[in-house]
């Protein structure tokens, strides 16, 4: 399974393509795509240049958790720097 991630154009924040076709900062809100469909979804997402930049696919497992070689990188993108837990999405969730 795949999800689409990108950085928001205005502020660079990490976003995911949601079920409603809108961008969300929550990984849990990311729409899941079969590997076979994901490429087309990504190509469509990449045309939304007024909203985002640097869109690409991330692998997830059946439970929606990030998987594969880039797990650490994607986990840090999702949450924020591991050395500043007061910054990034992780900070909002703790607060």
């Amino acid at each position: 399974m795949k999800i689409v991630t990108a950085n928001s154009l205005q502020d660079g924040a990490v976003v995911y393509l949601g079920d409603d076709d809108q961008w969300t900062p929550q990984l849990s809100g990311a729409a899941r795509f079969e590997d076979s469909d994901a490429k087309d979804v990504l190509v469509a997402a990449q045309t939304r240049i007024e909203e985002i930049t640097d869109a690409y696919l991330v692998s997830i497992d059946q439970d929606g958790a990030i998987t594969g070689r880039e797990t650490l990188r994607e986990t840090i993108r999702k949450a924020g720097p591991t050395v500043r837990l007061d910054l990034g999405l992780q900070a909002e969730q703790c607060a």
């Binding site: 950085n7 154009l9 205005q10 502020d11 660079g12 924040a13 990490v14 240049i49 007024e50 930049t53 640097d54 594969g68 070689r69 880039e70 797990t71 650490l72 990188r73 840090i76 993108r77 924020g80 720097p81 591991t82 050395v83 500043r84 910054l87 990034g88």
Partner: protein
């Protein structure tokens, strides 16, 4: 300090206005990211993991209280209340929004700052000795020549699209604090037998995936010919440097492929063609630039301060800070005060807005308004009266800026690594933090003496691991962080590239490994020998054994 003339002010203001238009067109979708990316990079704006990152230039590491206060203002208004000093004497903001960057750049332009030459394949912000103009051991202040290079290189039409980025560093001391032997061009001001000052010109050094110590292609270049000679080098590189392969595009690859002798020949040939064509500055212009760097109005003071000697008696903490963090000044009664941005367990190079303001106030009151950024990610107050050092130290201590560890084992260079950087394979900062915590005891650190640990989170080597006495390189192994240890590197006048000692270590093991290496050094050293000296005396094998045998 240099102050902008009308040309500088106009160039910076026009560039900021131009970028404002480019940002607006990107936001409206008129420009694609593909079109916009080279434009934003020309203005120091990167996209990192969590946000944009703006790298602001501090030419040759010299800046004022007013500029530091503005950096603090920018950290609060446009970022998350902090900044990060880099290994090239610049400062980075990790969280600015694209929509705010034009305003941020306008705010910086008001205090003669910008983000030009901090990215892209141009001649980058020139770096220098952080003690320039203050050091007891310098031949002369190298900064006028840095400023001359800055003016020559900024928007140089011929060198705006080089094969790759290009970094120049200048020192005027035999004790190289600017790492000139590992730059694309390193310049060392020195005196020849006749008593004249000129440049040793070193070319083709660098770190990254193919590290090299540079080659001296000229022992003595008369100062007035600096620009024509630099232009000759850049011309040869611009023409002959590879553009077909990103990884082979730096000048170090060209110099080492051609051989230093042949490269020197090409440069001399080119120089013979252009040296009389009006590139070099006239004497009056050289003098005009030098006038900006006239020494501040130092007082006539006794070499020793009675008050200081009384203050250090019975205050061990202050006494240690004096021993470790202050350096001899060329003027009697003054000292150079280093400000460590490496608190035990902290993030190397990070500084909060409040800390920036504390430093600005100190510079204002006690250092003729001058601050320096170092390539080792620390700050310097270059001109402090010895009798003011106690006051300075108390303020620094209250601000959390008085860690007495300059040049010691916890004064670690670390790149931002995977906590921020899109290029990184692994994290760097947490390794630095854990080493610093493990070896926290300052008595022990001082007894270990000079020991430079440098950590990079990928092969691009922004953390200078190749030239660490102990270098640590993060590598990704099937999604797991591993760390390769190198030993015996040096960025100083005795520059050398460290050697890999063996298989990579897990993030859990690498801190133990550093401790083992440090303990082994202690057991082997003779009086006065630094870690590097012992390594060079006994070689890699005993260290390898110490590291891997018991494991």
């Amino acid at each position: 300090m240099y102050r902008y003339d009308e040309f500088d002010a106009t160039m910076v203001a026009e560039r900021a206005a131009q970028f404002r238009g480019q940002v607006a067109r990107r936001l409206s979708g008129e420009l694609s990211e593909e079109e916009f990316k080279p434009l934003r990079l020309m203005n120091g704006l990167y996209l990192q993991l969590h946000a944009y990152m703006l790298r602001v230039a501090i030419p040759y590491g010299t800046f004022s209280s007013r500029q530091m206060r503005r950096l603090a203002h920018a950290a609060r208004k446009y970022d998350k209340g902090y900044g990060h000093f880099t290994t090239r004497q610049n400062i980075q903001y990790n969280w600015p929004a694209l929509v705010d960057v034009p305003d941020l750049l306008d705010d910086l332009a008001e205090v003669e700052m910008h983000a030009i030459q901090t990215s892209g394949n141009c001649i980058r912000n020139v770096t220098s000795d952080q003690y320039a103009g203050a050091a007891a051991d310098e031949v002369e202040d190298p900064r006028p020549w840095c400023e001359i290079i800055r003016q020559w290189s900024t928007f140089h039409p011929e060198f705006s699209f080089l094969p790759r980025k290009f970094k120049i560093a200048v020192t005027a001391s035999d004790n190289d604090r600017a790492a000139v032997r590992v730059h694309d061009i390193g310049l060392r001001l020195h005196k020849n037998a006749g008593g004249d000052t000129g440049f040793e010109v070193i070319v083709g050094g660098g770190l990254g995936r193919t590290p090299y110590v540079g080659h001296t292609i000229r022992d003595f270049l008369p100062k007035e010919h600096l620009l024509s000679y630099l232009e000759a080098i850049l011309r040869v590189y611009n023409l002959e440097g590879r553009r077909d392969n990103l990884y082979k595009a730096r000048i170090k690859i060209l110099v080492n492929a051609e051989g230093a002798e042949r490269f020197r020949g090409l440069v001399e040939e080119e120089w013979a063609q252009i040296r009389s064509s009006g590139i070099d500055l006239l004497r009056e212009e050289i003098e005009r630039i030098h006038a900006y760097f006239e020494a501040p109005a130092f007082e006539k003071l006794p070499g020793e301060s009675v008050a200081l000697n009384a203050q250090r008696d019975g205050n061990g903490e202050f006494d240690r800070w004096l021993r470790v963090n202050t350096v001899a000044h060329k003027i009697p009664g003054y000292a150079i005060a280093n400000i460590s941005l490496k608190p035990i367990g902290g993030i190397p190079g990070d500084i909060s807005a409040a800390q920036m303001e504390a430093v600005a106030d100190l510079a204002d009151q006690f250092s003729f308004d001058e601050i320096r950024a170092t390539h080792e990610q620390n700050l310097v107050l270059p001109h402090v009266r010895k009798e003011d050092l106690f006051k300075v130290w108390r303020v620094l201590k209250a601000a959390g800026l008085a860690t007495a560890n300059i040049g010691l084992v916890s004064d670690i260079i670390a790149c931002p690594g995977l906590d921020y950087c899109t290029l990184a394979n692994t994290r760097s900062i947490p390794i630095a933090q854990r080493i610093s915590e493990r070896l926290a005891d300052l008595d022990e650190q001082e007894s270990l003496g000079e020991l430079k640990i440098k950590i990079s989170g990928c092969i691009n080597a922004c953390g200078h691991h190749h030239v660490g006495h102990i270098g640590i390189l993060g590598v990704d192994k099937k999604g797991e962080e591993f760390y390769q240890v190198t030993l015996g590197g040096s960025a100083g006048e005795d520059a050398s590239i460290g050697e890999i000692v063996g298989r990579g270590l897990s993030s859990g093991d690498v801190v133990d490994a550093v401790e083992k290496l440090v303990q082994f050094y202690k057991s082997e050293r003779n009086d006065g020998e630094r870690f590097l000296d012992v390594y060079r005396r006994i070689g890699a094998d005993p260290f390898k054994e110490a590291l891997y045998a018991a494991a």
